[in-house]
Amino acid sequence: MKVLVPVKRVIDYNVKIRVKPDGSGVETQNVKMSMNPFDEISIEEAVRMKEAGVAEEVIAVSIGPQQAQETIRTALAMGADRGILVKTDANLEPLAVAKCLKALADKEQPEMIIVGKQAIDDDSNQTGQMTAALLGWAQATFASVVKIEDGSAQVTREVDGGLETITVKLPAVVTSDLRLNEPRYASLPNIMKAKKKPIDETSPADLGVDETPRLAVLTVAEPPKREGGAKVEDVAQLVDKLMNEAKVI
């Protein structure tokens, strides 16, 4: 089967973000960008499915500016077969992203789309569920184990109180959680090979998707700062403070 994996270019998870002084957003100029960590897990899962003979082809899709091509190259170096860049300078909302993915799925006919459960920039946690809804497919979110067996997938999900197992009919959308796998590092030979793999280019307009946002961002502000940093000498002093100053125990 064919597996489609969207990969998002986001500010690297190690970077301490800065809110722009005019409150219009977060500074993204001259900031290190990387693939959303959950998307690395999705690519890894798809590549492992290919290595196990379950999947024939893995397609990495990124929706973003020209530079998102670098994110696709990373996916190709990890083992994806080809890429599709949906080029736009707009910051698409999850609903518009899901519409792009639906249009691509209609064209490519994958049997599975593996989406990161959330992107670490807008923390929306919506794209996978929305894509499944628009396609009329089943969804298996927050997956920690995925087993494919004749026409369906058995998925273990991370839920609030523990784990849950469901069976979804294929085609389906799976969203990857932290423990699904540990993504590999791309080897140098594979990075070189990835440069030769094809990347097609399209745009939201080509896919018939309206980019107009539904949410107007009025301001982006820094959260109130926490006044921390005080130290205690020893355990006795700590217990003392907790009992008599903070009065929390």
Binding site: Q118, D123, T165, R214
Partner: protein, 316 residues
């Protein structure tokens, strides 16, 4: 127009985060209805009707809703949503699974994990692991919203007397089926509801070493949590995880042990009332947010803390 809250239910009744969502709904409009979808859910509907401030309960009783499968519940929300100005749910794993699907069926851009209601169209939500707060205004006809429970006090569980109305099922989609659930067994309070949390990080070294945190937790009546690093290392299950990609908590007291304080962990606990950090690395970023920092060996400090608390408590 009224505001609808989707209840999350379990065998015991209505899950507490539902009541935080009711408070957020009441901040939008004082006519709040609750949708209870389940199988043989008369008991849960009765519990929902008692929540203070709720004027009507819609009960959809069908085997299709027995296990909260997103495909079925989203269709049900779609069938009623256009009679409401807003549909809200607590941002639990249930709410996060179901609501975006319903939003897409309605062609609505969901607003995730709101922490404040500015007006009926404008909401505040954290982005970048809570390192920025975005104020967004929705132009959609129906607003679809998930609510971060720690930002709103729960509505009282008792005091209401809403009428219960039956709602027709939207049917079984047949796309997915439920096989089973394996819940972590614990006598301790649930992380998101606990007044005190003791959390361990990579510094714990192993899963076995969490035993010293459990002893401390039991002394305090606390829940046990963990950082993503500890989950990644396989020390504890994922449902222990506090952080951007785990649970968001705001207890009265949060004790971080052997946790360095990565951005993604701070996102899940920095709204706690009092934070204690125990770490041997004096430069660890966790100390910057801690009200009380103790630099030292956790394997010595934690047992000492447990016995010190025991001594002082028995002296009171």
């Amino acid at each position: 127009m009224s505001v609808l809250v989707l209840a999350e239910i379990d065998a015991n009744g209505v899950v507490p985060q539902t009541r935080n969502a009711v408070t957020a709904a009441l901040a939008i409009n004082n006519d709040v209805h609750i949708l209870v979808a389940g199988s043989d859910c008369a008991g849960q509907a009765g519990a929902a009707a008692k929540i203070a401030g709720v004027s009507k309960v819609l009960k959809a009783d069908d085997a299709a809703y027995a296990n909260g499968l997103a495909e079925n519940v989203a269709e049900l929300i779609k069938s009623v949503a256009t009679s409401y100005s807003h549909v809200l749910v607590g941002a639990t794993s249930f709410g996060k699974n179901v609501m975006p699907r319903a939003a897409a069926l309605l062609d609505v851009q969901q607003i995730s994990e709101i922490t404040d209601v500015v007006d009926a169209e404008t909401f505040v939500r954290p982005i970048y692991a809570g390192n920025a707060l975005a104020t967004v205004k929705s132009s959609d006809a129906v607003k679809i919203i998930t609510v971060r429970a720690t930002a709103f006090d729960p509505a009282a569980a008792e005091g209401g007397s809403a009428q219960i109305e039956d709602l027709a099922s939207a049917g079984e989609t047949g796309l997915s089926s439920f096989n089973g659930r394996e819940l972590t067994k614990t006598e301790r309070p649930e992380l998101t509801q606990a007044g005190i949390i003791v959390s361990g990080g990579r510094g714990m070294g192993s899963g076995e070493n969490f035993a010293i945190l459990e002893e401390l937790a039991d002394k305090l009546g606390a829940a046990v949590g963990a950082s993503r690093a500890a989950v990644d290392a396989g020390f504890v299950p994922n449902d222990y995880q506090v952080g951007q990609t785990g649970k968001v908590v705001a207890p009265e007291l949060y004790i971080a042990v052997g946790i360095s304080g990565a951005i993604q962990h701070l996102a899940g606990m920095k709204d706690s009332k009092v934070i204690v950090a125990i770490n041997k690395d004096e430069e660890a970023p966790i100390f910057a947010v801690a009200d009380y920092g103790l630099v030292g060996d956790l394997f010595k400090a934690v047992p000492e803390l447990t016995s010190e608390i025991e001594t002082r408590k028995s002296a009171r």
